[in-house]
Subunit: 471 residues, 3 copies
Amino acid sequence: MRLEQELDGKDLASIGRELYRFAADLYPICRSITGNGIRQTLAMVTQRIPLQTFEVPSGTSVFDWTVPKEWNIRDAYIRIPGGKRVVDFQQSNLHVLNYSTPVHATIPLAELKSHLFSLPDHPDWIPYRTSYYQPNWGFCLSHHQLQALEDRDYEVCIDSTLEDGHLTYGECYLPGRSSDEVLISCHACHPSLANDNLSGLAVATFLAHLLSDRELRYSYRFLFIPGTIGAITWLSRNRESAERIRHGLVLTGIGDKGGFHYKKSRRGDTDIDRAAAHVLKHCGEASEVLDFSPYGYDERQYCSPGFNLAVGCLMRSVWGSFPEYHTSADNLDFIQPMQLARSLRVCAGIADVLENNQRYRNLSPYCEPQLGKRNLYRSTGGESIGTEISARLWVLNFSDGENSLLDIAEHSGLPFTTISNAAESLCQGGLLSAIADSGPSEAAPDSSSHREGSASCRTAQAAAKLVGPEN
Amino acid sequence: MRLEQELDGKDLASIGRELYRFAADLYPICRSITGNGIRQTLAMVTQRIPLQTFEVPSGTSVFDWTVPKEWNIRDAYIRIPGGKRVVDFQQSNLHVLNYSTPVHATIPLAELKSHLFSLPDHPDWIPYRTSYYQPNWGFCLSHHQLQALEDRDYEVCIDSTLEDGHLTYGECYLPGRSSDEVLISCHACHPSLANDNLSGLAVATFLAHLLSDRELRYSYRFLFIPGTIGAITWLSRNRESAERIRHGLVLTGIGDKGGFHYKKSRRGDTDIDRAAAHVLKHCGEASEVLDFSPYGYDERQYCSPGFNLAVGCLMRSVWGSFPEYHTSADNLDFIQPMQLARSLRVCAGIADVLENNQRYRNLSPYCEPQLGKRNLYRSTGGESIGTEISARLWVLNFSDGENSLLDIAEHSGLPFTTISNAAESLCQGGLLSAIADSGPSEAAPDSSSHREGSASCRTAQAAAKLVGPEN
Amino acid sequence: MRLEQELDGKDLASIGRELYRFAADLYPICRSITGNGIRQTLAMVTQRIPLQTFEVPSGTSVFDWTVPKEWNIRDAYIRIPGGKRVVDFQQSNLHVLNYSTPVHATIPLAELKSHLFSLPDHPDWIPYRTSYYQPNWGFCLSHHQLQALEDRDYEVCIDSTLEDGHLTYGECYLPGRSSDEVLISCHACHPSLANDNLSGLAVATFLAHLLSDRELRYSYRFLFIPGTIGAITWLSRNRESAERIRHGLVLTGIGDKGGFHYKKSRRGDTDIDRAAAHVLKHCGEASEVLDFSPYGYDERQYCSPGFNLAVGCLMRSVWGSFPEYHTSADNLDFIQPMQLARSLRVCAGIADVLENNQRYRNLSPYCEPQLGKRNLYRSTGGESIGTEISARLWVLNFSDGENSLLDIAEHSGLPFTTISNAAESLCQGGLLSAIADSGPSEAAPDSSSHREGSASCRTAQAAAKLVGPEN
């Protein structure tokens, strides 16, 4: 499987436009950590990939937490009694403090103000604020709106319900040869915010689609969940599955124009950390690898010390580091089709590494084997060698049973794909053999019918280009 | 115990003036590695802290060395026979080569010159020179003085005694819950030199005063000793005590206007090395951490390979790196009250780390616990979190039984105090428990009456400020 | 043994001129991987050092390779039929594609062109090209020559033979106290190319001469071999010897005006890697240490995973990084006498480290010993100490049985020679003793007659300079 190469053979711009369209379709929905918004969102994901939806009743204990009541909202506004709406939920679902309890009253401005949230530094933007676990009501509005309010009575109305119901999340499971899992997790609880996290939701959906109906080394589990409480709920209900997670990524904020940031797992030196760092280094865009810290997205839960999973977080601009974060300015203008597509391509590259990273053994370890007689070298001595031949020398020299292809890619500075292709050519040439995979566990017998096609030696088209003798 | 916080609540400038006054009172005394000068100095320390003084007879074997004869001096001069003094010990005790044997003779300038020491590059300054182990006499003088000497006979007189006597040193021992010790060592043998080492002597005295009458985790031993031979003598007579030294600091040259330098112990990665580096990083002044090298102060002895103790050396400007070093220009103008006070504050901060650094266990390690319901989180979701909450997340995530608070402070980049406060809040909230201290040994039963007040959970005033729910 | 000091006592410029003259004498010979050119070359080496020559028959299997037929050449040219030579082997042996099969024919330019090699970017230079393992014939010529060829028929003649014969290589073995070996390898197969590799050949020859007739700790084996196939052949026939190689250097391209480059062994942290890096750091020239990579010279074979020997490669400018590489511009103007001499000096310094690096034990490990009473310290206290005394303190402090002198040199930043001299002084003073050498194996009894003169304590002339007491 070579997803990245496959994407490079397609029109990435067109894939970007499709990703963007999906995000745009999801944008207007008023999501929260529970309720019909997230249900509607998951329904739209289900149109693209096979998604199983779960409903967990309010009041369910999940570790130190409790699944909250379900919140739904129809309307909300502030208006001059009998007059026009000055703040209107119908214009932006950000106007309501998410999880606001219902209210309908007429109160003076002074009293109202303790329920209002604005951003003096960005007076045109509406902040995104929530109060999930402390019953409260409130409105978020632009600072200009706030300043324009006259000192008078206002009618406030939040037509919401906060009642026993369910927390809803979705899973897409793609079985592989091994029951060991790769987790891809994204939160699906934010209302009209594009980068945080419709970008992650869209890329995760498309990545799952790309991986569907393939022969996979690992099994993949995609989670579309409400932030924090969703990850806690899932982990609480799936402790056995969690033990099978070998590698994982939280995808979030990957549609903006910024370069990539990969935040490492708590363990910091796992294969996912190295794979992500490697792919970013060679992706052609600016990127930075960040150490783990316990604040952020749902890696907070996956990397809590009791689980300590190998789960990192892939972002473009880092949350909180750009002013649009958690405001109405994180809208559809803030994300770009090509940025979404390139994020998908990086995810594909990471999956390629996870799928193809294994150890080989040089079958001719005493001195270099004569590549020339196998048409794996250049024809005239005295000239320099190219990247393909260099990659073969690297793979031969370091395939001593200890080093994986990712180790070799890191040592050599060459892209994983080049190293992986070299390994294929050398397998073809009878110089290399794959070492039985001590990595992922094999799946149960009933799913082992996939195992015939070994990943160790495939036809190397690239090798056909090379001719000639050796020195 | 939080010495640093306590100092921050006081008038640091006034503490600095007091430190400076103490140094100034000690300045005129003519000290050497033995004799009445060091006795008089220790007597002045005893007025401030409980000091036990030891007298070791001349001739005592101490490892490869022998305690030398005791040296005392009343007067010394060079004068034109029957005329005025051209070099006069009464004007500066630096004028005499320290440990000069007695002499009274009239000799021509040519012969005298082989007994004179000056600094051509700094013609106004008197050098500080010694000849402890090779019997010799001499005078140190400014190069201008030297050049002004006419080619004639001079009467030279050194009214000193070098006779069997004693080497004198002082110890201040402050018992703690554990018999494991923290060593603070400073040399007290230099005559009128302010930074080297009245600064160290003053700060050590005030630090001992600060630690007195407290409940301490460790026992503290302060040594006021002559350089080299004093440390060798103490180690030779106290091999059992030396084995109890868990952490140690040599304090020297910490009154000048330069930034801090911490020279690491020979082992290089001990708790004292990390504590000092951490406190300096957050102290608000320029600082540099230096690798161990075998030349320097008494860490040379504590870190000799047979002992290899975890003892570093805290300085401001490094010996030999500034021209005033070992000259009359290292006088009371060369040290500053506020620099002494800030050095004391750094020492206090290091002691705080040693006293409070321990490991805790997160009692709720699966996912994050819900801090909001314990009033340990911010009230409105969507906003960023502050340092206090961030510190709590760090402590929770890394308190897996492996990491100490200092480990966590280093990982997080937050000051130890912030991390330590977070641990207190979380203990209060029932989320964290201290791991039984495998660090310092407990003291013998007779001193265990101090053990009641466990350090693991104290009232966290800081926690009271925090309100609200969580996301 | 102190080769470097010995060289410093001689006229390095004169040594450089002698090295250069040797390279110049070798320059005109048309070498290849087999044949009379390399035989003639080895014969000239034999005039300087005791060299044993080996002949391996064509067709011999050497690991994955086969020793090729032997190639010899008398003449080669392209000429206008019946007219003058336009390309003439007699003017430069680079004009013929090395290992060209014989040909004598008259062919049109169009057909000829597929057998011509030139360098459009350097139109005055002749490239060096080979075709050892794919039968072919060809000419290398300057691009100006190529462009001047008219569109007509040409008579081409290569008067060569490619027949069963032998591969020839030379070995110079210098026995030491231990049968453990230091390998010095250089390729001797390139025709008129000065830096690559007459420079390596000359320096290796002179280094062997320098080491001859000495009492050596290690045995030294110098190989003068054809590149790639020669190393493979030697390793194939000498697997037992290969197991005794403890340290090794490939010497190549060390006569040009560039700074030094040392390419580390595959293992990357061996003594030869550290010794080379250390000597280069202190050699007074620019230098850079490069990580191992599997392309390069014969370290490719020595560091193949089956052998994984501690063999690095010492160069000045790195192959392929300068335009003259593998062209006629790598001529006698491209190398310089003094550069050859300084390269020899670096090799000598590396041999000094290998010969003298061992571990010592401080016999007085509790506190510093009193150096003053042994005349190993400065006379007057208060002054700074010099490098010699500093080195003694380093050796004493770190000679705890764990650290070798090279470890101490690295820690201290002082040159190995200074540290080694300090160890000698301290041995003389009775303060240090050598630890029985667990490094190189002792040679078989019959060669143990050399063992009397222990390397652990020699007369330290340097120590005589030092006088005086101590503080």
